[in-house]
């Protein structure tokens, strides 16, 4: 038994250390979550506005609960609006303020205005938060697209780059037609992930269970083979062990240079690529700054 514990000491210590790390991180995250104090009593408590009846009642409830939990953890409002109505005429009314709008931007006008009108923001009205407006109506689009838009404000606006926004939108659009609930859940979790750690939920490396089985099996086999070596003792004599004085006497030792040849080769160098771009920031009709980006499904 003593020998067994001695042999397994490495694994037992590793498990103990990982357990400690796990609980320390969990403890730290819990404390951080409590640091945010809600400073906005103007905005409504509702976060999920399913005007298109895409979600069931229980799904809406589950999303509301998830959003409440995530909002407290990151200190940002997460709002979801699901529409199924043409927005062309609604948006065109704002063209004199915002300039000419393309069909994909109608939903942007709606999103910005929605956020502004309800005065969302975790820290204050028109403060930190975001809204995703997903419009299932396809009549606005010459291509038959259903557009959506993620409008960001405050800390969310300054945190999210174009590529981060695109990632959130793409994650939604990848599955919204098959499973809208899961798609909207990914929106909430992605906002939380990016705000808490700078990684999206899908960027987080989740080790699949089969990988753990394979790695464990490989380690066990290596352990087995490593301990299977039966031979005890290796050669400990050197070539000079029995040589008088430990050294050979060199009577001739010449390294005569004969000739030298040099070959040349031209190296092909590729020119470097360009850098990334920034997020598009604009001011809404209500006069508040928003970041954001959209997509379609």
């Amino acid at each position: 038994m003593k020998k067994y514990i001695k042999s397994m000491a490495f694994f037992l210590i590793a498990i103990a250390v990982l357990l400690i790390i796990y609980f320390v991180i969990r403890g730290m995250k819990g404390v951080v979550g409590e640091d945010y104090v809600r400073g906005n009593s103007t905005a409504p408590a509702q976060r999920v506005y399913d005007y298109a009846d895409v979600l069931t009642g229980s799904e809406e409830e589950k999303l509301e609960k998830l959003i409440a939990k995530r909002e407290a953890q990151i200190g940002c409002d997460i709002v979801l609006v699901i529409l199924n109505e043409p927005l062309a005429s609604y948006a065109k009314a704002y063209e004199d303020v915002l300039g000419s709008l393309s069909e994909s931007e109608y939903v942007m006008v709606y999103a910005d205005n929605f956020y502004d009108e309800y005065a969302f923001g975790y820290n204050k009205p028109h403060g930190d938060g975001c809204v995703l407006v997903d419009n299932w109506d396809r009549s606005d689009s010459v291509y038959g697209y259903a557009y959506n838009w993620l409008s960001t404000s405050g800390r969310v606006e300054s945190r999210f780059s174009t590529s981060m926004i695109n990632h959130v939108i793409d994650d939604v659009n990848d599955r919204v037609n098959d499973d809208p609930y899961e798609a909207y859940k990914s929106y909430v979790n992605n906002i939380y992930s990016y705000m808490s750690s700078g990684k999206s939920a899908s960027d987080r490396v989740v080790i699949p269970f089969y990988a753990i089985i394979i790695i464990s099996a490989v380690v066990a086999v290596i352990y087995l083979i490593g301990n299977l070596t039966k031979n005890v003792g290796t050669r400990t004599t050197a070539s000079n062990t029995y040589v008088n004085g430990g050294k050979a006497k060199m009577t001739v030792m010449t390294d005569q240079f004969i000739r030298r040849s040099t070959t040349k080769r031209h190296i092909q160098r590729s020119s470097g690529g360009g850098g990334g771009g920034g997020g598009g920031h604009h001011t809404s009709a209500g006069g508040h700054s928003h970041g954001g980006g959209g997509g379609h499904h």
Binding site: I212, I213, S216, V232, D255, I267
Partner: protein, 327 residues
């Protein structure tokens, strides 16, 4: 013959820790008195018949436990020139085996049981030690390659050399065991011995141990030492040719001349362990404590320990997964 204590009549043996002759009965030192008699057929102390192997020169009476030396096998043409007295005591040899055993995870638990350890015996193994003078000429071609870049161009420069070497090597006492029952490879691995401790042969050092006389003559065993001299010379030559990317030999000539040969007795602790019908023999260098052998593997342990590792790794993997989820 047998060494008896002139104080109490007990069996006096050589004690590696005291570096003296010691009587375990009266705890006297250097009180030995050679008592001849019996020969190889019967015990010089109690007269019981002895079971002696063909080349055995020293051993123990199974009946009274007295250590015997068979003089006629260590005298005349069989007189060793040199002996290296035991330095590692029985307890130290046991300790060395224990250390080796402690990190052999799959070794059977009974590997170092009291009962089998008691059967471990110290043995003076016959060795021939050969002196050689070697002359070695070597010549050939070598290249050195250097590469660098300047701007967009990569240059590769190859330099050609003609290499000439001649070396003289004096080998002293290349050992070869002269016992048929000792595994040659294991006896090669048990080297090296520190020759500073070699002494003129004295019979009393054999008291308390087993021993053998040489099984074959020095001429018959010489080729093994010869090969070792050639191998070592070749290695020394290659060590003197350094810094080349490629080497091509054009001429080589090695002359190995044997000079003298010594007959020596070298100390080895022999431990035999029987496991599932097979005997595993371990050797402990009686001077340096180096352990040589082949460790048996216990299948239940092998399976149990590996399964444990698998289980613990699964737990570790799961924990890593949990940590990555909360980060």
């Amino acid at each position: 013959m047998i060494y008896k204590c002139h104080n109490c009549g007990g069996n006096v043996v050589y004690d590696p820790q005291r570096k003296k002759m010691y009587c375990a009965h009266c705890e006297g030192t250097d009180s030995e008195e050679p008592v001849s008699g019996g020969g190889a057929a019967q015990c010089a102390s109690c007269g019981a018949p002895l079971q002696i192997k063909p080349f055995q020169s020293a051993g123990k009476c199974e009946h009274c436990g007295c250590y015997q030396i068979f003089e006629e096998r260590v005298s005349g043409q069989f007189t060793p020139h040199l002996i290296l007295p035991f330095v590692v005591s029985r307890q130290e040899a046991e300790q060395k085996l224990n250390t080796e055993f402690s990190w052999r995870t799959f070794a059977p638990a009974s590997f170092l049981s009291r009962a089998t350890l008691q059967k471990m015996e110290g043995m003076y193994v016959p060795f021939f030690m050969y002196d050689y003078h070697v002359h070695y000429d070597w010549s050939g071609k070598g290249t050195k390659v250097r590469a660098w870049t300047s701007g967009d161009t990569e240059y590769t420069e190859t330099s050609y050399y003609h290499i000439n070497r001649s070396m003289e090597v004096d080998f002293t006492r290349i050992p070869v065991d002269a016992s048929n029952q000792m595994d040659d490879k294991k006896m090669d691995l048990i080297e090296p011995y520190d020759y500073w401790a070699l002494e003129q042969f004295q019979m009393k050092y054999m008291s308390g141990f087993f021993g053998e006389m040489y099984n074959q003559g020095s001429e018959q065993l010489e080729p093994r030492a010869h090969k070792k001299a050639e191998r070592d010379t070749e290695e020394l030559m290659m060590q003197s040719i350094v810094g080349y990317s490629t080497l091509a030999n054009e001429y080589r000539n090695m002359n190995v001349n044997q000079k003298t040969v010594d007959y020596a007795l070298m100390p080895v602790w022999v431990y035999e362990y029987a496991y599932r019908g097979e005997t595993y023999t371990f050797y402990v260098n009686g001077q340096t404590g180096k352990v040589i052998g082949e460790m048996p593997v216990s299948k239940p342990k092998m399976i149990g320990y590996s399964a444990s590792v698998f289980g613990f790794m699964m737990v570790i993997g799961q924990l890593v997964r949990m940590i990555m989820e909360v980060v």
